[in-house]
Symmetry: C2
Subunit: 345 residues, 2 copies
Amino acid sequence: MAVEKTLPKGQRVSIKDIARAAGVSHSTVSRALRNSPLVNAETAAYIRRLAQEMGYTPNILAQSLVTQRTYTIGLVVTSIADPFVDAIVDGVEALATREGYSVFLSSSHADPGREIAVVEAFHRRRVDGVIVLASRVGSLYTERLQELGVPIVLINNQAGGEYVYSVSADNLGGAREAVCHLLELGHTRIAYVGCHFRPPSNRHRLEGYRQALNRAAIPYDPNLVIHPRGFSDLENGQQALPHLLEAGATAVFCYNDRMAIGLINAARDHGLRVPDDLSVIGFDDIEMSAFVTPRLTTIHQPRYEMGRRAMAMLLALLAGEQVQDVVLPTELIIRESTAPPRSEP
Amino acid sequence: MAVEKTLPKGQRVSIKDIARAAGVSHSTVSRALRNSPLVNAETAAYIRRLAQEMGYTPNILAQSLVTQRTYTIGLVVTSIADPFVDAIVDGVEALATREGYSVFLSSSHADPGREIAVVEAFHRRRVDGVIVLASRVGSLYTERLQELGVPIVLINNQAGGEYVYSVSADNLGGAREAVCHLLELGHTRIAYVGCHFRPPSNRHRLEGYRQALNRAAIPYDPNLVIHPRGFSDLENGQQALPHLLEAGATAVFCYNDRMAIGLINAARDHGLRVPDDLSVIGFDDIEMSAFVTPRLTTIHQPRYEMGRRAMAMLLALLAGEQVQDVVLPTELIIRESTAPPRSEP
DNA sequence: CTGTTAGCGCCTTCAC
DNA sequence: GTGAAGGCGCTAACAG
């Protein structure tokens, strides 16, 4: 009876169409398609074959409307074009896809306004959960986040809060390890170049720096701790050079690789040689680090794994399980930018 | 009048709830919320205020179900952790967000199977359109893509097809410009190191190389054209070195920056100096290029703009407008890795 | 201007 | 096993 006209394009085949073609009710089709045992095996097979032939593609939107589950998550990053971010996104996406979730990606450009706008948009789309990467936004926002009633996991952000879960790298331990490496090489005038616009992680790395010095019984010298006020990491690295020279540093631990690279470039322009005249160690182990000259010694953050773990945590939360915050270990990667201090003339 | 009980969490306020609270029908609420003129201004204002107070967030899924428009697009990339990809994603996302679209991001890892799986997933979610980035997948797949009945735009992929639209960089012109630069510096033994697993763009860049030589009346020497068979770009760059030396090249145009960097590293390990002993020029202008030593001379691709244009094209397509494929101009970025050939001893 | 009625595509009791 | 009926949240005629 049904008119078998080929639908022009964007073939909107629904379970009703299949039901009509199969001479059953749409309930039965629905069951068959979800492999429900409550349906005759043969008719189920027939229905599935029919669905296949008719080019049926389930409409997840409709499903979601009734099940109240969208199987989507929202991922907020500061900027996609950040070499630190990409591997994390990769990790999130890989696990999400494997588990049947799709991910909405949006960048906030570190603008609080945009960041909450993004979250609101995610909410309108009824994402099942949200992952926020390296947000610099504070409490006012995580508060709103929690109102949404969906689980949130934060990566690299210690912004605390009752219903906020987090995964991050071991900033403290990593920093300690970096400075220990410098100490073991024989340095005693070791500087730290920090980042003023990432307070929490900066605090931890600075603390690691202090702990390492402390253990080596080297007194803390405020002149060796610098927080440039520029906007970009590279710029900040460059700006730090004169202060370092003045303070008589022979080695520097930089908040991150980009700063380290900026510093190294500035040093070269200034006629200094790294590591001969100045040892430099970074943090993050971004891809570029292995290709600059000299190749940068740094602290590796397991970024892909951080993404995976964040997604895994979200999945657990969605399954109603209990979860604990995770802190992933870092790893010292020794390359060419660090060496023993030059013996005095 | 309305009971102001705070809903526990995941406050599922619907237009019906608002209707009840306001003493009107849900149609009126719907109209008021969409700023329809068919509603008394006062009651509309009241309703909107009420919605605000009750913490209402429209459910786009439900809207989409009836309007048949999801305001989502799917973006397929080979790998997110590719420095070439990120800026493009950024460009797509920026415009999409501005226009009220959300973007699903998925990576295919250059696996045809995964790539079509991703597209199927997008289809189930009823995305309004799809953007595919640098797909190495061929016709069988774009065919299926078109069956979906949603507009597709391809970035950096010449795979042709009736209903396929594309935006790409001017590979031919860029390559010509790269080689011209080398010619102008005085080189005559100029090599090309190509990429065997990106046939279309490789063909264009090789053709640009030939055209440039041709215009300079320099005969084409097959020994100077190398296509390493390794898997990674860096590796391929390294592998090319011995052949280049053997062929007596004084300058090399590499398919992309990563190859160029691999080649430069190999050259250094081999005791050669770039650009003194060998001039090297890349293609892409990835971020790293400005930080390696020597800083890499290269051909810039306007990646962010490519992303934007692709999204703009999709938007136009969704608006039913006619569109034309776009080819964006490249730009020669002269840095430190190219110089005149050394005068013979 | 506003309410009523349908229905988008699907899942889910609840009877048969 | 299977069908009928109701509803997820929302928009869109169609009457008033």
